[in-house]
């Protein structure tokens, strides 16, 4: 009996050799993820069921009360609405602009490398630095936009101070900021399309628009799908430009969810409700991404 048992044990030890080797290789990222992703995530979920003291320690278990409070709060609903509007303004426009630029920059012309560099250059600028520049552009009296309007005798706009304009202005700067990355990814996707497909279509006599519709867009669909997903998630998580340009104002019109989380946690020290908001945002992004994979991927042609 004893002999057979040790044999069985040994074989289990031996059989798990592959799994143990795999684990060893995974260990560094498991450690990193645990410290910077998994622990904060579970801590957030845990905290969302509590009221906290000023140091962010759980003080009183309140169950789902943080969530019910949020759903009834007008400010939070306003912030959700602002976030969705912001996503709607920035994602489609940004991707379409990036696609047009990528199509232009994909042509074989002299000096096209210069334009490719220019178009993708916003990738190299930090959110903070570019937001400061935009702050100057939007300035009501010395800003370039109002000066331009002045030249054409158009009425002045309070870009960041008027609640009807503020979200649009922030969206504008965000679109500009994200174009570089989307452009670069889409250009890469375009260059991956086999040149012979276009030559074959040209021999058949297909026009530029026909080629764009029947070849470029379908062949680019995996890349487009990727960039749409990434842009959506990014837009939901926007923080930097809000903090510098508007601080959530005027009258909460640009108070996007992440900024609202920040204010709740580090200005109002309400870590419980802030955590509940974060969990809510997480669920939102998860649902949108799942929906996108379910609906969007059907139209994607992987090679």
């Amino acid at each position: 009996m004893m002999v057979s048992q040790t044999k069985a044990k040994k074989s289990v030890w031996k059989r798990s050799l592959d799994a143990r080797t795999a684990l060893l290789y995974l260990l560094p990222s498991i450690l990193l993820f645990s410290v910077f992703v998994f622990y904060p995530m579970f801590r957030t979920i845990y905290l969302s069921f509590f009221l906290t003291d000023q140091n962010g320690n759980a003080a009183l278990f309140v169950g789902l009360e943080n969530y019910t409070y949020l759903l009834e709060s007008v400010a939070f609903r306003n912030s959700i609405k602002a976030t969705f509007l912001f996503v709607l303004y920035t994602v489609p426009t940004g991707i379409i602009i990036a696609l047009i630029l990528a199509l232009l920059a994909n042509e074989k012309l002299k000096g096209i490398g210069f334009f490719r560099t220019i178009y993708s250059s916003t990738m190299g600028i930090s959110v903070a630095a570019s937001s400061v520049i935009w702050l100057f552009l939007f300035h009501p009296s010395i800003g370039m936009f109002n000066k331009l309007l002045n030249i054409f005798n158009l009425p002045q706009v309070e870009w960041l101070l008027d609640p009807t304009w503020a979200l649009l202005s922030v969206s504008l700067s965000t679109i500009w900021l994200n174009t570089g990355f989307s452009f670069l990814i889409l250009l890469g996707g375009l260059q991956n399309i086999d040149e012979h497909l276009y030559e074959s279509a040209r021999i058949d006599g297909a026009s530029y628009w026909y080629r764009l519709r029947r070849i470029t867009i379908p062949m680019l669909s995996p890349t487009l799908f990727f960039i749409v997903t990434i842009s959506l998630i990014n837009a939901f998580q926007t923080f930097g430009q809000i903090d510098i340009l508007t601080k959530g104002g005027p009258s909460q019109s640009t108070n996007l969810i992440v900024y609202s989380i920040y204010k709740e946690a580090f200005v109002n020290y309400q870590f419980g409700t802030a955590s509940a908001q974060a969990v809510f945002l997480f669920i939102c992004i998860l649902i949108v991404t799942i929906l996108q994979f379910k609906l969007g991927e059907r139209k994607v042609h992987y090679q």
Binding site: E199, S200, R202, I203, D204, G205, S221
Partner: protein
């Protein structure tokens, strides 16, 4: 069915050196014309110029009777098969075949009829609903062919269409493409680097090297009478044996190396030049028999032997390279054997060493030409 005429065609990318220069050729209607040459010789560029995918730097290109230099590809009334097939991966086989018909706004009913006709001709009927990635290499090749012929264009261009297939399938598709071309009577311009494809498929072949024409003619003529040493070594497998020789006026012979020399008859004295290039086909080197004169026997040492079924190829050293001999039958030859050979003077080609032109054609090819009379 239209003819294609190239008049003084040149192509240059940097406006200084020509990658293709002074091409003059007329491709007859309904002809299977093969452009053959080593990679980088400009054959694909030439095909793309005919298609209109590359600009023509200099010269005139006529299709039918019309000059088409400035016409876009779609107006040249031709179809093209690409080396990698260029199938649209996101479309089904049927949509791929119909792509061109769609563009040309051909009515749906016609489209269906033509697609099913072509699919049947190429045995694709069962695969119409599949995507290209679900097909084998040979099937993809057929789809590419189908896409080219469904347009019913009078001219079809093919750019190395078989190079992605394995050897067996390639041999099969060779005859299939040839048959389709005959049946439809289209003018075919076919680019390949494979001399076997050129020999077996072409009505006429054009050998290109470094952007200029080496020879144009029907395959057998080119094989028998190569215009220069390049053609001689490019066409034929194994290639023609070539070496440089020295004419010796005292002994009336051309010396190839220390031990081997070819006696030259009195009336061909003019070939006894200081320097001359000598060539002979591997199958024209014969085994010495008991009847052979002792003086004509050449003793060589075998350095390599290959037996391909009923064909034996062996090589021996000659000058800097090696010469090959091809005999039919399974010869029991070992490496290191000393073998007596006979090389008839009539079988040799001589090339001018300066101009690289043929000056003496082989006259002893009668044993390889059969007329229809031999059939009972």
């Amino acid at each position: 069915m239209k003819k294609v005429e190239l008049i003084d065609i040149s192509k240059s990318y940097d406006k200084q050196s020509n990658v293709i220069s002074n091409i003059n050729v007329t491709i007859e209607p309904g002809e299977f014309f093969v452009l053959v040459g080593p990679s980088g010789c400009g054959k694909s560029t030439m095909l793309r110029m005919i298609a209109g995918l590359e600009e023509i730097t200099d010269g005139v290109l006529k299709i039918g009777e019309k000059e088409v230099n400035d016409l876009p590809p779609s107006k040249r009334d031709l179809s093209m098969v690409f080396q990698n097939y260029a199938l649209y991966p996101h479309l089904t086989v049927k949509e791929n075949i119909q792509f061109g018909l769609h563009v040309k706004k051909i009515p749906k009913k016609d489209r269906m009829i033509r697609t099913s006709d072509v699919a049947e001709m190429l045995g694709l009927t069962d695969y119409l609903k599949r995507k290209p990635r679900e097909l084998s290499g040979g099937q993809r090749q057929r789809v590419a062919l189908a896409r080219a012929i469904v347009n019913e264009a009078p001219i079809c261009l093919m750019d190395e269409p078989l190079s992605n297939l394995d050897a067996k399938l390639r041999a099969h598709m060779r005859s299939e493409i040839r048959q389709i071309q005959r049946r439809l009577g289209i003018t075919m311009i076919y680019v390949t680097h494979d001399q076997i494809e050129a020999m077996t498929m072409g009505d006429r072949i054009m050998i290109l090297h470094e952007g200029s024409i080496q020879q144009i003619g029907n395959p057998i003529d080119v094989y028998n009478n190569p215009a220069n040493p390049f053609v001689a070594t490019f066409i034929g497998s194994p290639p023609m044996n070539i070496t440089s020789g020295v004419g010796d006026k005292e002994s009336n012979a051309i010396r190839l190396n220390d031990s081997i020399s070819i006696p030259v008859p009195f009336e061909d004295e003019r070939y006894l030049m200081e320097k001359i290039i000598v060539g002979i086909r591997p199958e024209h080197i014969k085994a010495a028999t008991k009847e052979s004169k002792e003086a004509e026997k050449i003793l060589v040492e075998v350095v390599n032997v290959e037996i391909l079924g009923n064909e034996t190829v062996f090589s021996f050293l000659m000058g800097e390279g090696s010469w090959q001999v091809k005999w039919s039958g399974q010869w029991q030859i070992e490496v290191g054997d000393k073998i007596p050979l006979i090389m008839n003077y009539e079988s040799f080609c001589f090339f001018d060493s300066e101009k690289k032109e043929i000056i003496k054609k082989p006259s002893d090819v009668e044993n390889h030409v059969f007329g229809k009379e031999v059939f009972v």
